[in-house]
Symmetry: D3
Subunit: 111 residues, 6 copies
């Protein structure tokens, strides 16, 4: 399912213990990723941009992995996203995100 | 020129007083917006997502105006960007950005 | 309804144009504010703390107004929230939020 | 003493090297946590909300540990705090904080 | 007194209503601005950098006004601070802060 | 070269793959660190303040290492920067940055 990238162990355990929260998380994911006019890939690129601009390493890594694995988004396309991150958010966020991108790519190459 | 949206009065005055900074700003804009694989429109949607996710009203407004005026990006497309903002950044950023979007649109309708 | 504080004009217009997003916003509000063990008032104090710590004037003002009008939360209680904001987020967020609190209170006294 | 959660090694070393800063840190802690009307537990829940909303893993973990160990705050109560984090700050902050909560709880169960 | 820039109306009213908080604010200001080795001016430049990097218009304006009025810090020096803001925080924070700087300067010229 | 602190592996790989981005990064670094009136050391102290105020551990560590190694900035001077971080950004950012400073210093002592 779209957006399952955020379903870590914590979210999955909600299903038993807090079904109202689990249903809400599902509802958010289904509604958010079903853009009326933009396709899933464009929305995914936007999500990478937002998490990368916050220099949030965990979320950035998850979004990049999901983008490459599920949607065949290329390294080149993500570098173009990071150009916008450099502009809007400065060098530390750009540099850290580039490092995460390279590390995700090289882990895949090893597999 | 692409990215001129950020050329407020402050930036333009740099041209005389700090030409090294002015040239840098131009260099950043030209390099960032010239994605190798993503088109300008997709990069612009990403920029809207990042500024909206920070609940930065001034930059969000400028990006939305530029998107609509220069690139014929539609309200629908921006709402799809804001879906990702709701997911990644919560209700206050979503609600404030939606308000900015509506206000930009209604100002245009009046003209 | 709880959480209606965020239903600005932008959200209300979603009802016609993007009913899926409107339903999601309602779902989020209903689920979030229905804590299993904490009461609405405690959750509201937490929301004030979060928005104040971000020095987000619009959301802080809305949360404080809602707290005072709907829940009879006192100025003293909000000052105690702002103590935690001072600790976790520093002087500018504390000082700005205190100013917002005073301005909300004095507007009410005039009415 | 209340607030000692922040007294890591760095702060304790201040006592010898920068006694003015050490006294200030003590003064901040004593003043902040001594709310006039809210009890310590409610202020602690607010502190969890603020640190969790920033997706600051170190501070969130410390606040949650302190809440459970010193104040017998329950997992359920913290989940109710995280509901407000989901609303105000989005899914990545919610998901990461839930993971930290689960990890703190399971470490305690092992002891 | 150093740091009085943050003593807006809200802080001053604390003196009667919450003297413990007022004394804490004074204690913070006196301790923070009394660097052992850096002079007040350098600390002030750092404060401008931090508030400008957050694109916090209110605090940035206050810090810049205080820097120019109390410490004869020049426009050139603040532009050099903003260079670091551009690097670490991106174009929107740089552009907005530059605008604030120009507006503070031109208000002074009019007086 | 000034600012090479940000030239992690990710940035260096840009030289072959995205020379336009690599040249831009160089241009940013050269322009930013060449203040007209402030010296490199003061600009470096400002950069530490900004990264520390964001509680960004990776960038804070890099800036502190660079400050000590390249510019003989002392622990005392950095503590004075952190005073401003405590004021503007609160205890968690102050406490985390102090920990990073101590850890950088003690790693150096071991060498």
């Amino acid at each position: 399912m779209k957006g399952e990238i955020f379903y870590g162990k914590g979210i999955r355990e909600l299903e038993d213990e807090h079904p109202d929260l689990y249903d809400l998380v599902k509802n958010i994911n289904e509604t958010v990723w079903s853009g009326n006019v933009l396709d899933y890939k464009t929305q995914k690129l936007i999500a990478i941009g937002i998490t990368a601009s916050r220099a949030d390493p965990r979320a950035t890594k998850k979004q990049i992995q999901s983008a490459i694995n599920e949607l065949d988004i290329t390294k080149e396309e993500i570098v173009d996203v990071l150009r916008v991150v450099l502009l809007t958010s400065g060098m530390p966020a750009f540099s850290k995100s580039l490092q995460i991108l390279n590390s995700v790519i090289s882990t895949m190459d090893e597999e």
